[in-house]
Symmetry: C2
Subunit: 396 residues, 2 copies
């Protein structure tokens, strides 16, 4: 089963918008076991759109068109698909009502242009999920299919997740459910992980289910993705759970989270469970840690505050400076826990990238020396995840 | 003159990497007056690469292939292009030496795989600019051309800027030099800008040179791009300068910077010139302002520090809270200038998105009330640029 993606919009070709939709769709198709051999960007031009979509349909069993479903004169995806299908557009009055209702609930008036969004090629149908004012289109063409989704990422994703992916799987005759889970790690290299998991990967290669993949994600660590195939959801989840347990035994405490969990949400959850608060001293990290913490804890219930400053005066060791900085943050905000990442004094003669991680929990102090790579901005971000991860391990 | 882009790499289709190269190339082509009607992503597969590149060549006068020039077995762009040209690959010994030298200067050994990178289709030539170990390829095919560049963004950009763009312009018979400049603005909507500049745009439409375009850039404001065409560099720069002066007169102080200047670099430069320092109180902005300031001023010479905290206690007005927060930051770090963005107290009954910008310069206090859109994270970022821009205007 092959499915191409055609991303529509002159602004994509002009580089005014980066086409992240196709990448996301490509990833979802791969996870669902569907091949995607070509992805095309084309401008808002009738003939060129037609040739791209038609070519996709010639080469593959399905095409997902992304964009060009809006209310303006540029938005001609509906028209092009109707032309390919050799049919007329028919206004769907139920969709008109849905759009009118959406506008009214936002206190706005529906225009004639918006009515155009309810035009559906004869023989096609609207995709049941409709999170915005543009319905997606499900357009059978002989034994193949064109799906059209809006370019708004949220709307596109909803339609993919709740209709298109399962429809593609049904069409491919694939009864299997494919699910994946990501274990997020910090503290080992990709080659180190490959070595630790080498035997396990060899074992899994024999059955081919589940499979493992490493995704290096820079300042967010390395992800280990487990992908399982099974007869139904429950069985797939069972395989994922079993494999997660095996991997956690092998990997130990370098696993800090699962799927979308970031290091800061893990630390904040741990604090919340213990009814504790944290304060931060940002000398090296210069505000990056705070911006991540406030993003996850906007009400600042667990994160009490931070001081951003140039650093403790020279003349003491990096270890001392880390602890002094953590202490200062802890006292300033009267928090239960405090953290600080600092650089050594120049007089210590430490190699570039040396960072001291300081953590105080209650009255107990902890310091770790680490070596981190990268220019100033990468170093700052590596220091944030290293420090949070150190704090996580100390609190567990 | 039409030029297509073919981005090569299975990882692009799988969504493991977002194809930002094509977007960048598309923007550069547009600025150089060259049309790009199709951009394709294709995996590391001989037949599919061949069909994509061949199709590009059928539809357009030039194709830029991006990726697949590395040393591994997956990297077959060279082979595919040789096949399309109907020629063999010939090892270029001068390039082998260049690669060997690069490896040796980094203390590494060149492998046989790296030698493959010096294979050039007969009749093609290496692109003169070669910033990495993969030479770009210049491949004439009848009266058309294929360029191949590495997928490493830095290497690709160097080759585009120093060879491909000017070669394309020469081929198009276009002798003109095209240059552009971006004026960055904050404080007016896109429709507001269009109205302010309406007469000027009409005037320019008559000559078509220079041209103006608006680029809405969300939390970074709205950019006004001036594009000028002239016989040589000096004449183009003259047109840009003249037009910038006209636009600055029309737009007034909403223009905060030019090209890559961010609002924080503008504020930091202004502080540096006056030999002044700044401190920040981050309640609403929660660390975002600090992380931007330390990124531009890593030594913290002008930015002295910040306090990140939940906010001044309730019971005073938003105006008072903004000033109290700014005062607190100023005193904590003994800075010449201080800034704070805060939300009103709930008891004030202000609409959602109301933000108070507080600035202290010496002993003088300033407050401005603004209404900002978006969810929490967007609000935070809009508050940062609004506050910095307010500070910029007060200091000018």
């Amino acid at each position: 089963m092959r499915c191409e993606v055609v991303a529509i919009g002159t602004e994509l070709l002009l580089g005014q918008i980066v086409d992240t939709n196709s990448s996301w769709i490509g990833e979802q198709l791969a996870l669902a076991g569907i091949d995607s051999h070509f992805q095309t960007k084309v401008g808002d031009n009738f003939e060129r759109m037609k040739s791209s979509i038609q070519q996709g349909l010639d080469r593959s069993e399905a095409v997902i068109c992304c964009g060009g479903l809006g209310p303006t004169q540029d938005d001609i995806t509906r028209d092009v698909i109707a032309n390919i299908m050799g049919v007329d557009l028919i206004r769907d009055e139920a969709i008109v009502e849905k759009i009118r209702h959406m506008f009214e609930s936002r206190g706005r008036i529906m225009t004639d242009n918006n009515r155009r969004q309810a035009d559906i090629p004869a023989g096609a149908s609207p995709i049941p999920k409709m999170p915005g004012t543009a319905p997606g289109l499900y357009c059978p063409v002989d034994n193949k299919v064109i799906y059209a989704v809006p370019g708004v990422p949220y709307e596109m994703r909803e339609m993919m997740e709740h209709f298109i992916l399962s429809d593609l799987q049904k069409r491919s005759g694939q009864r299997a459910v494919i699910r994946s889970r990501v274990l997020r790690t910090w503290g080992n290299s990709e080659s180190g992980l490959a070595e630790t998991l080498g035997d396990r990967i060899q074992q899994l290669d024999k059955t081919g289910n589940p499979t493992l993949a490493f995704l290096a994600s820079g300042i967010e660590g390395i992800k280990v993705r487990i992908t399982a195939k099974a007869e139904d959801e429950a069985a797939a989840v069972q395989i994922l759970g079993d494999e997660e347990a095996v991997l956690r035994r092998l990997l130990g405490d370098i696993v800090f989270g699962v799927d979308d969990e970031t290091i800061e949400t893990v630390v904040l959850n741990s604090l919340r469970k213990k009814d504790m608060t944290v304060a931060v001293a940002e000398t090296l990290t210069g505000g990056v840690m705070s911006s991540r913490l406030t993003s996850s804890d906007p009400e600042m219930t667990s994160f009490k505050g931070a001081i951003v400053f140039k650093g403790i005066e020279n003349g003491v060791t990096g270890t001392d400076r880390a602890l002094l900085a953590a202490k200062k943050a802890k006292e300033t905000y009267n928090a239960d826990v405090s953290v600080a990442a600092v650089e050594p004094c120049t007089s210590e003669g430490k190699p570039r990238g040396t960072v001291y991680l300081g953590v105080m929990i209650g009255d107990t102090s902890f310091v770790e020396e680490v070596g981190l790579p990268g220019d100033r901005n990468r170093l700052r971000n590596y220091a944030v995840i290293s420090l949070m991860n150190y704090c996580r391990k100390l609190m567990s």
